[in-house]
Structures are given as structure tokens and as C-alpha cells.
């Protein structure tokens, strides 16, 4: 088949739907992963002994367990005890667990880096502990964890490719299908590589812009 027809008629439509699926996976995962990450981090730093230990276990398990295995557990494992997810939901759940566990580490680190005196000062001004955490500590801590979180976001774009292993046809899946069908491995995988590189590069620039925007002057 003519190269240009192959690119225009086969690759572009397949990559388009694949890209949409990848973006959907990322868009659903990232905000939830961030929120849970904040929750887990706060639980670890401010929670009682039990909660803190539980949150630490959460972080250790989901950072230590390979994501692919996690997806297998969610998609192939859970049906054996009667819980059935669609491939999309299973992958989003897996990504959320993984993403939030890593985010929680970054956020925990930056919460700890905020001087404890600030919390005491806020309390002395009559704020409750929760008010102080939400209004004083978190706004600073989250700013400090932007580099880590955006790094994790870039990782998320990359590991969203694993959804293909549980039959979600995203970018990698779309490229594998046409590569196999048309026996054009090199062309297709290089093309999909370029799409990923573009996504990651754009996100990197976006992340550093975000970092600058939220920097505290001085």
C-alpha cells in the first residue's frame, strides 16, 4: 500500500480515536488521583497512629505493586469474587491507585517541609487545626509539590499505555492493532512514539509554566 494512503487512511483515524481514549484515561485519573493523594498525605502526616499506618500501607502497596499486575487484579482477579468492571473503569481505578500513591509521597514531603511553627501560629490566631491545614499549610505545600505532581502526570500519560493490556484500545493499542494488521511495525510504532513524545513534551512545557505561575514571589 502506498505510504501516504496508509498514513492518511489508516494511521490518522486509528491514532485519533486512540489519542482520545488516552486523553480520557488521563483526564479522569489525574484530578481524582491528586485529591486522593492529598488525602492520603494528610492522613499520613496529621492522622492518628492507626490512620497514619494505614495510609503508609496504601502508599507502600500501590507503589510496590507493578501497575500491570494491579490492572490484572482489577480486571481478571476481582470478577472471581463477583466484582466486575469494564476495561475502562478497571484501568482508571488502577491508575488512580498508582497515581495517588505516588502523589501522596510528593505531597507528604512538602507538607513536612512547611515549618511546624506556622501551624502553631495559625492555632494561636484562633484557627482550628483543620482550618490551619487547609488555609495555611496546604496552599504552600501544594505549590512545592507541583514539580513532583507534574512529573507524575507525565508518568501517567506513559503508563496509560498499559490499559491496552486489559483491552482498552488507546494509543498503544491502536498502533499495535494496525501494526499487526498491515504488518508495518516500524512505521507504526515510530509514529506512535512521536505522538507520545509530543504529548510528553507539551506537558513538560505546560508544567514549567504552571510552576512559574504559582510560584510565590520572593
Amino acid at each position: 500500500m502506498d505510504q501516504i494512503t496508509f498514513i492518511l487512511d489508516v494511521m490518522v483515524p486509528a491514532f485519533e480515536s486512540g489519542l482520545l481514549m488516552t486523553l480520557a484515561l488521563v483526564a479522569v485519573t489525574a484530578p481524582i488521583g491528586l485529591l486522593i493523594g492529598i488525602g492520603v498525605a494528610c492522613g499520613r502526616v496529621y492522622g492518628g497512629k492507626g490512620l497514619s499506618w494505614l495510609m503508609q500501607l496504601y502508599a507502600i502497596f500501590f507503589r510496590g505493586c507493578p501497575l500491570l499486575l494491579l490492572l490484572f487484579i482489577l480486571y481478571f482477579g476481582l470478577p472471581s469474587i463477583g466484582i466486575v468492571f469494564t476495561p475502562f473503569v478497571a484501568s482508571v481505578l488502577g491508575f488512580i491507585f498508582c497515581n495517588s500513591a505516588y502523589n501522596s509521597e510528593y505531597i507528604r514531603g512538602s507538607i513536612i517541609s512547611i515549618k511546624e511553627g506556622q501551624l502553631i501560629a495559625a492555632k494561636a490566631l484562633g484557627m482550628t487545626r483543620n482550618q490551619a491545614i487547609i488555609n495555611i499549610v496546604l496552599p504552600q505545600a501544594l505549590r512545592r509539590s507541583i514539580p513532583g505532581i507534574s512529573n507524575e502526570f507525565i508518568y501517567l500519560i506513559k503508563y496509560s499505555s498499559l490499559a491496552y493490556m486489559i483491552t482498552v484500545i488507546e494509543l498503544t493499542g491502536a498502533s499495535k492493532l494496525i501494526a499487526t494488521k498491515y504488518f508495518a511495525y516500524n512505521e507504526t510504532f515510530f509514529a506512535v512514539a512521536l505522538v507520545y513524545l509530543a504529548l510528553v513534551t507539551i506537558t513538560t512545557f505546560g508544567a514549567s509554566a504552571l510552576e512559574k505561575k504559582f510560584a510565590i514571589p520572593g
Binding site: P66, M165, Y185, N186
Partner: protein, 223 residues
């Protein structure tokens, strides 16, 4: 019942652990062997060298391991006429991928050694190469160790993606056992526990090494 199956299949799982560790070891060895020259090239190289290395790093850090595996296993290696077994392809890809990350750890460590040391070494009559080898690297490698050891759990979890090209590592074997015995959750959870233990054991081992080679009063682990 699940426990009996686990015990029965343990030897099979165990050879999976060996293959997984083989992948990780290969990735770490290639990672250091290639990552260190890449880092040196990026710090001390000429402009074209630095440019080529940064393209390499950008390429391998920007792509999912799954895509890299597909690209090399189905595309590049066959096109070059290489018919390598999946394990070798997995090891090479993880190594090339890990080298890109590790080079950045080494680069940061090399750049953290103040430039005055290079100048001082040169003024004592050392060549550039001698200065790098005997003055800069011994310090830089110690500084790089904590960052480098963070690569281990990452490579370990990422090695499971080699499932996609059929390397018979831990995850592949676990799924094979699942499809043979129809016992799912216990097998997968056992696999997860093994991965987490391997990760924990390796990280603790590296921490011990860090303490051992630390120079008193020097570096992050030293004081």
C-alpha cells in the same frame, strides 16, 4: 486449596523471580554502563555530543516502556535482522530506558561537585580524564547512590511490562498459573507480595551499601 496450589507451583513462580531479577540486573548494569558515559558526555562533551545525548534521553524518557518494547521487539530488531529471544530484548530495552533515567542522576551528581575541584586537579598536573576518574567520579558516585537506588524499585515494577512480549518473568508466570488453575486472587496477591518484598529487600540492601561506602562528614549519607 489456594495455599496448596501456591506451594505446588512455587518452583515455577521461583524461576519467574529469577528471570525478573535477571531483567532488573541487566537493566541496572546497562544503566550504569551506558548512563555514566552519557552523563559524562552531557557534562564535559562538545556541543554535538551533548545534543545527541539529550535527544537520546528525551526519546527514552518520553516513551512508555510498552511502546519501546513493541518498537524494538516487533520493529527495530527484526528489521535489523536480529532474531533475539524476548528475554534479551526485554533486558536491552529496560537497560536503554534505564540508562536515560540513570544518566540524569549521574549528571546531577557530577554537576554538584564544585568546578574548582576540576581546576585544582588540572593545576596539579592531572589530565582532564585523570581528574574526572580520580577526583570527580569517586565523590559524584557517592552522591548519586541514593538517587540511583531509587531506580531499582522503578525498574523492578516496570520489568513486569515485559509480559507484553512474552518474557516468562514473575507476572507472566503468575498469569499462566491463574489460567491453568482458575485460582485468581490468591495467585495475583502472592505475586504482588513477592514484588513488594523484592522491592523492599533491594532498597534496604542499597541503604546498607550507602552507609558502608559513605565518607564521614561528606555527602548526603555521610554525616
Amino acid at each position: 486449596m489456594a495455599l496448596e496450589i501456591l506451594i505446588d507451583w512455587f518452583p515455577y513462580l521461583f524461576s519467574g523471580i529469577v528471570l525478573t531479577l535477571g531483567l532488573v540486573a541487566a537493566a541496572l548494569i546497562i544503566g550504569v554502563g551506558l548512563g555514566l558515559p552519557l552523563a559524562l558526555g552531557q557534562v564535559y562533551g562538545t556541543l554535538p555530543v551533548r545534543f545527541i545525548i539529550s535527544i537520546y534521553v528525551w526519546f527514552f524518557r518520553g516513551l512508555p516502556v510498552l511502546v519501546l518494547l513493541f518498537l524494538f521487539y516487533f520493529g527495530l530488531f527484526p528489521a535489523l535482522g536480529l532474531d533475539l529471544p524476548a528475554f534479551y530484548v526485554g533486558a536491552i530495552v529496560l537497560g536503554l530506558w534505564g540508562a536515560a533515567y540513570q544518566s540524569q542522576v549521574f549528571r546531577g551528581a557530577i554537576q554538584s561537585i564544585s568546578e574548582g575541584q576540576m581546576t585544582a586537579a588540572r593545576s596539579l598536573g592531572m589530565s582532564r580524564f585523570q581528574a574526572i576518574r580520580s577526583v570527580i567520579l569517586p565523590q559524584a558516585m557517592r552522591i548519586a547512590l541514593p538517587g540511583w537506588s531509587n531506580q531499582y524499585p522503578e525498574i523492578l515494577t516496570e520489568s513486569s511490562v515485559c509480559y507484553a512480549i512474552g518474557v516468562a518473568e514473575l507476572l507472566t508466570r503468575s498469569s499462566q498459573i491463574v489460567s491453568q488453575t482458575y485460582v485468581t486472587m490468591p495467585i495475583y496477591l502472592a505475586c504482588a507480595v513477592i514484588f513488594i518484598l523484592l522491592s523492599y529487600a533491594g532498597t534496604s540492601g542499597i541503604h546498607i551499601l550507602e552507609k558502608k561506602i559513605a565518607i564521614p562528614g561528606f555527602g548526603p549519607g555521610g554525616s
